[in-house]
């Protein structure tokens, strides 16, 4: 006959439960890894001659739309009046064969602020092609893979915490206070779970971007001498690879009128991110599991442009 009391692991003596928990944690972590693992196929670099793809790589659809806007203004297809943009007289979507540019020309057929790009669903849809190409080349993890990995991370972490918590409650209710080993073991297991959640995927974005920035290291220094008015696409490339803040005002005077507020906000966000990372460097990074990541690949609200990543998933893989 089965001894039910003996079968209830929460009634087990401390050392026995610790052995059980160690085995349980190992099993959970292995399963989490297997379920959330993204195949590490050989990612191939995407076509890096397309500034819009690079912009997407760096900052998602939002960045693609901004760089495309800069390119269209530079080529004289869009005109800036204060903080508003409109298609130049006589210009419509037929002036371009690039989907995202056509969508922007349609969007700005009536004068609007650049902030309206957030609502430009058609233009955002035109950017999905770039996100798809990044997924196809293995540069970005697909939404499905990422969601699966984040879910695996959450479930594994929850299991590890709940099982340890129940035992802690049982032990404390029975007047036993020597729970330090269990607490430590649970902490380590949960940290491992978060770590697996963060690193089980592939992310070549930063790798490609670092390579591009090194390759084009002289471009920012040469920026003031670049040919304006769409003579080459180097302005777009500069903005795509390094960001709009690297585009000199002498080359693109309406930069601050169009994007000044956004750039300032991004700069603040980056500073906060750096501060946060510095703090974490001092105090560790316990429990940063945030499956509600705002960093989905190609998400308009991504903010992946420099330092997003943390917790289960993030945008980094």
């Amino acid at each position: 006959m089965i001894d039910l009391a003996a079968a209830n692991v929460f009634d087990w003596a401390g050392p026995d439960f610790l052995k059980f928990y160690a085995l349980f944690a190992a099993t959970v972590l292995v399963l989490q890894y297997l379920v959330g693992r993204v195949p590490r196929g050989e990612a191939r670099a995407p076509d890096l001659s397309d500034p819009y793809l690079i912009a997407c790589l760096r900052g998602g659809e939002r960045e693609t739309l901004r760089v495309a806007t800069v390119a269209l203004v530079d080529r004289g297809l869009l005109r800036v009046d204060g903080d508003r943009i409109a298609a130049a007289p006589g210009i419509d979507e037929r002036a371009s064969r690039v989907a995202v540019e056509r969508a922007l020309l349609r969007h700005f057929s009536t004068p609007r602020k650049t902030g309206s790009l957030v609502l430009a669903t058609e233009a955002k849809a035109a950017c999905e092609e770039y996100a798809r190409r990044l997924v196809d080349t293995g540069t970005w993890t697909s939404r499905e893979s990422r969601a699966r990995r984040e879910l695996a991370c959450w479930v594994a972490s929850a299991l590890l915490v709940v099982v340890a918590a129940v035992k802690l409650v049982v032990a404390l209710s029975r007047g036993r206070t020597n729970v330090g080993f269990l607490f430590g073991l649970a902490l380590i297991a949960t940290l491992l779970s978060v770590s697996i959640g963060r690193h089980a995927g592939v992310d070549r974005s930063r790798q490609w971007l670092r390579g591009l920035r090194t390759m084009l290291t002289e471009l920012p220094a040469r920026a003031k001498g670049l040919a304006p008015s769409g003579a080459t696409a180097e302005l777009s490339l500069l903005a795509a690879v390094f960001g709009l803040e690297f585009v000199p005002l002498s080359l693109f005077p309406p930069r601050d009128a169009l994007f000044g507020a956004e750039l300032a906000e991004e700069a603040k966000r980056r500073r906060r991110e750096v501060d946060r990372l510095n703090r974490e460097g001092e105090s560790g990074w316990f429990f940063r599991c945030s499956s509600g990541s705002s960093c989905s690949a190609g998400s308009f609200s991504s903010g992946c442009s420099g330092g997003c990543g943390g917790g289960c998933g993030g945008c980094s893989s």
């Binding site: 591009l212 090194t214 002289e218 040919a227 080459t232």
Partner: protein, 378 residues
């Protein structure tokens, strides 16, 4: 293991440019119009990991060929194993089609010249080249293509013409040829020979790559010479030579335009590639018309009698000192004067004196190169 095949078999002519950081943005944007890029290997030997990763990324965007300028294969002195090992490491890290070096020496007797110098054209150099080539192929893992070099002076100690020397070098090594047509044009001007006759002597089936560049005229002592500085547009005679190459070569060729300064817009460089494409096509078209006749009248490419300017042999104390004596002469005015004095005495000033002005111009050019290298911290 030695890889015998020195270059990938290509189905069609390809046209590319040299990778230069100053042109990086435009080159990337013009990817669809550029078949391949040439990367100067020596610029990457000591590169930090970050730059090497960037080069690896570049190789995912373009076909790359690595081009060496510092081994100095054409020398009686052996190339140091360490230099070859660096080349091997780079080739292992970068997905390049292959590599090439020059028929030149860059050091001798411990003297670094800072740039390529045409070697004395004689048996000992051909033998030294063959030894260095074999070591290079073994250490690097694949043999290099060899490129003819430009010179402002008929290299002291030479006992044969350049075409014969190049043909012998290719025969001794089995290497493919990087035919630099501006170097050929410059040498034909500076040493007063017929560039087309040169093409008749050198085996055209060995040509794998063709290099194009521009240079400038330098006048000294009433004589004008062509300096191959890679800072000017490709001149018309070089396109004419490319047309002749197209006429002589049935195989698909890789044509590379090299530019090392005073950069024009990429549009201008691509325009020069278009001119090269047109010239090669004209030559190809002409080939089909004259092929039969050419086969009937083809000259014996490897003359059995090698011209021998015996006097110049006595300039050098020993074959093993060949490169050292010349290297010292190019960096030290006193050694240069001594070489000229002994050379003139040996040859007889009236019929075969050394080209003093050519030596001087070469020494000045090398000094500029060394100063530039020192300035760039290289």
């Amino acid at each position: 293991m030695l890889v015998v095949n020195v270059a990938p078999t290509i189905a069609r002519d390809r046209f590319g440019l040299g990778w230069r950081p100053e042109l990086a943005g435009e080159l990337l944007l013009a990817r669809s119009r550029i078949d391949l890029l040439e990367v100067v290997a020596d610029d990457w030997f000591d590169a930090p990991k970050e730059r090497l990763r960037a080069l690896q990324l570049l190789s995912t965007q373009f076909a790359l060929v690595l081009h060496g300028v510092g081994l100095g294969l054409a020398s009686v002195e052996p190339v140091e194993e360490a230099r070859l090992a660096r080349f091997a490491r780079l080739l292992a890290r970068v997905d390049a089609e292959g590599w090439s070096e020059h028929l030149a020496f860059v050091r001798g007797g411990g003297v670094e010249l800072g740039h390529l110098v045409a070697p004395p054209r004689r048996d000992s150099i051909v033998a030294g080249l063959a030894r260095n080539f074999e070591r290079a192929a073994r250490v690097v893992g694949s043999p290099p293509l060899l490129e003819n070099v430009a010179t402002l002076v008929d290299p002291p100690g030479s006992d044969r013409d350049e075409a014969i020397f190049v043909a012998q070098a290719l025969a001794a090594t089995g290497a493919g040829l990087v035919l630099d047509l501006h170097n050929l044009h410059a040498n034909a001007t500076n040493l007063r020979f017929d560039a087309l006759a040169w093409l008749d002597v050198v085996p055209m089936e060995s040509v794998v790559q063709v290099h194009l560049a521009g240079g400038r005229a330098v006048a000294r002592g009433g004589v004008t010479r062509v300096l191959d500085d890679h800072r000017h547009d490709v001149p018309d005679p070089v396109y004419a030579l490319l047309e002749s190459v197209g006429e002589r070569c049935p195989q698909a060729l890789t044509v590379l335009l090299e530019r090392d300064g005073d950069y024009p817009s990429l549009g201008s460089l691509l325009g020069q590639l278009d001119l090269a494409r047109a010239a090669l096509e004209r030559g190809r078209a002409r080939r089909s018309l004259v092929r039969t006749k050419a086969l009937e009248t083809a000259p014996d490419r490897m003359p059995t009698v090698v011209p021998d300017r015996r006097g110049e042999r006595r300039i050098l104390s020993a074959e093993s000192d060949l490169n050292a004596v010349l290297a010292r002469a190019y960096v030290d005015p006193a050694a240069r004067a001594e070489l000229v004095r002994r050379g003139a005495a040996a040859c007889g000033a009236s019929n075969c004196p050394l080209d003093e002005i050519g030596l001087e111009l070469t020494a000045e050019s090398l000094a500029r190169k060394r100063a530039r290298l020192a300035g760039s911290g290289a």
